[in-house]
């Protein structure tokens, strides 16, 4: 089976993340880049599917030069090869454009199954899997917390607020995963050392047949109009328990619509 995992380098959520004042895009140089956390689960799931059913796992990323670190991590975990789409023309692309660019690369690599994390911790749009499936004309199985493959059919448990849906489709397909799905492995030392020697293809937009007029900040369908600093956290509210503490806590939760 030809499995492609789409991964993204995101600024470390433990560092301060900022938007640039001039073009209102994320300041990727300012923060340490790490593999988007949910993508680790996607890589892990792809590796498990490969281990059970055979085939090959390709890591695909679109991002700046330094995103190679992220790819290395996925290769260290056990992916077989990597494709890195990187081009100045892609800077500032929104989700719609990104799904187009990735579709073009998938046209080159081919795929039976595309696995993604259900969202990235930077923009958190959570729409890429849906857009990609639509562009590719294949079924989308989203928010999977369990994946089973049987011949050419794929079944997932789709996580919902009330439990889960059982969703079934025929391959090829696009799956997005949530963190309940597995426990990502630590890369093995042998894996880390082997990562350097694995096939690693770097593509520009011309190599991937991407139309420059359809990508990049200037051509984006969406625009960040303005942004503001998050307000400082307000002091918490302290309720003194004089026998009514439970009621007060419940009322508070109800007022915030948690219960």
């Amino acid at each position: 089976m030809n499995i492609v995992v789409c991964v993204k380098q995101v600024p470390d959520t433990e560092t301060t993340r900022t938007l640039k004042s001039d073009d209102r895009t994320l300041d990727r140089a300012a923060a340490d880049g790490v593999l988007n956390e949910l993508d680790e689960y996607a890589v892990e799931e792809a590796l498990r599917i490969k281990e059970a059913h055979g085939g090959e796992v390709t890591v695909l990323t679109m991002g700046p030069d330094k995103a190679t670190d992220t790819i290395r991590k996925a290769l260290s975990m056990g992916a077989d090869k990597a494709v890195h789409l990187t081009d100045e023309a892609l800077v500032g692309s929104d989700a719609l454009q990104t799904s187009y660019a990735i579709q073009q690369v998938l046209g080159r690599t081919g795929f039976d199954l595309v696995v993604l994390g259900s969202e990235s911790t930077d923009a958190r749009t959570g729409v890429l899997a849906a857009m990609l499936a639509e562009r590719l004309g294949v079924p989308q199985l989203s928010l999977a917390n369990k994946v089973e493959i049987d011949g050419s059919s794929i079944r997932v448990q789709r996580q919902t607020d009330y439990g889960y849906d059982k969703v079934e489709a025929t391959l090829p397909a696009v799956v997005s995963v949530v963190e309940k799905i597995n426990e990502p492995r630590y890369p093995s030392f042998k894996g880390i050392m082997a990562a350097k020697k694995k096939p690693f293809e770097t593509l520009g937009i011309a190599d991937a047949g991407i139309d420059a007029a359809q990508v990049g900040l200037a051509n984006a369908a969406t625009e960040v109009v303005d942004f503001a600093e998050a307000p400082p956290r307000e002091r918490g509210q302290i309720v003194k328990d004089e026998g009514e503490g439970g009621v007060a806590a419940a009322e508070f939760l109800a007022s915030k619509k948690f219960i």
Binding site: R72, K73, S76, Y186, P187, S188, F189, K190, M193, K196
Partner: protein, 386 residues
């Protein structure tokens, strides 16, 4: 801009694989070990599961080749020791004893059968090893050991008592060094052999998250094939100690770094006389001395690691690193402890734990005095041990 935790940006000198290994070990150490260590320390235990976790991580014998070992560079192994000892010296000791003492001994001196039998399981953490050289009356002077191995037909019979043996009660296999008619020899002793027993040493105030034991060999009968065939004399055990000391000189960098970072963050937040502690000149001097000590120790580790990878490191240079770095780490820990005031004496902060651990680390694998004499012997040509 300089980073407080790597002031000299030393890690830029690591290659890609070494950096990758650092990240994995650091994540593992911080996620799985750091949250539990004060509890293990207080209870004076090291859980058996740690060995399987370490095995899965791949740190046991990671710089050895074949038999399920990853075959990394010595520098990568050093960095792994650094990240583990940043949590606790006892946890790094587990890895030193398993990989550098027990596995290295079998890898370097064992027969092919001994390697096949033990190394893959030890690499995976399914079998635990220990290394018995020291005795109650033979510490710095191991040549005076009393444990003997005598021939009985084709068999060997071992008698004696080893003391202060790390991993002793947990071990499945003990590498035991004993006196024979033909000089000191090494033996691979399965710990379920009749006559073998191990007793935990109680009431330790240092290296509490580590198993330290007495090994009793009461007429333990072993087949001929349990001896290392080709090595006689102290050359055998000393070759292993040299490996383990190499890991220690890196590990201590981690312990020192943790103490320094703890002192730094404490001093930045704690105020007295209306100012953060870090704003007083006396504390600034402490912090500066700490950051220099950590950086210099890191440099020593890296230099010796590169020499080791080039096959050029001398035992006296390892002595230099073990002595200089263990001493530096102890100084940093003491200074950090002082900066935390009363808060520094509890297990809520890592510094007192590191401080007491480091008292063991300067003692085992050759005391400060022994390494002083080794270095001096190398530069003067005069031996002053006896």
């Amino acid at each position: 801009m300089t980073q407080p935790d790597d002031f000299l940006a030393l890690d830029d000198e690591l290659d890609e694989a070494e950096q990758g290994i650092r990240d994995v070990v650091r994540d593992f150490a911080q996620d799985r070990l750091a949250p539990q260590i004060s509890d293990w320390y207080e209870r004076g235990t090291v859980p058996r599961e740690i060995f399987t976790d370490f095995g899965k991580l791949g740190v046991f014998g990671m710089h050895l080749d074949g038999y399920g070992c990853a075959g990394t560079s010595a520098v990568a192994y050093g960095v792994a020791c650094r990240e583990l000892e940043a949590v606790d010296s006892g946890l790094r000791s587990v890895v030193s004893v398993q990989g550098s003492l027990a596995m290295f001994a079998i890898h370097r001196w064992g027969t092919e059968e001994q390697r096949q039998e033990w190394l893959p399981r030890m690499a995976a953490g399914q079998a635990i090893g220990c290394f018995g050289l020291t005795e109650a009356a033979a510490g710095s002077d191991p040549a005076s050991m009393r444990t003997t191995a005598r021939r009985d037909g084709a068999d060997w019979v071992l008698s004696g008592t080893k003391m202060w043996i790390t991993n002793g009660t947990l071990a499945d296999v003990a590498i035991v060094w004993a006196r024979t008619d033909d000089g000191i020899r090494g033996f691979v002793v399965p710990t379920d052999a009749p006559g073998f027993s191990a007793n935990a040493i109680p009431r330790k105030l240092s290296l509490r998250a580590s198993d330290t034991a007495e090994l009793v060999l009461d007429e333990v009968r072993l087949p001929a094939a349990s001896a290392f065939p080709d090595v006689r004399g102290l050359r055998g055990p000393l070759s292993c100690l040299n490996e383990a000391r190499y890991g220690i000189l890196w590990g201590t960098v981690g312990a020192a770094r943790t103490c320094y970072l703890e002192a730094l963050s404490y001093a930045l937040t704690r105020t007295q006389f209306g100012r953060p502690l870090a704003g007083f000149q006396l504390n600034q001097r402490r912090l500066t001395e700490m950051v220099i000590a950590v950086g210099n120790a890191g440099l020593v580790g890296l230099r010796l690691g590169r020499l080791k990878d080039a096959g050029r490191v001398e035992p006296a240079q390892i002595s230099y690193g073990k002595l200089a770095n263990a001493r530096a780490a102890l100084d940093v820990a003491r200074s950090a402890r002082a900066m935390l005031g009363a808060a520094g004496i509890t297990l809520d902060h890592p510094v007192m734990r590191h401080l007491t651990n480091l008292e063991t680390v300067v003692t085992y694998e050759g005391t400060e005095e022994m390494h002083t004499l080794s270095i001096a012997a190398a530069i003067t040509g005069l031996k002053a041990f006896r």
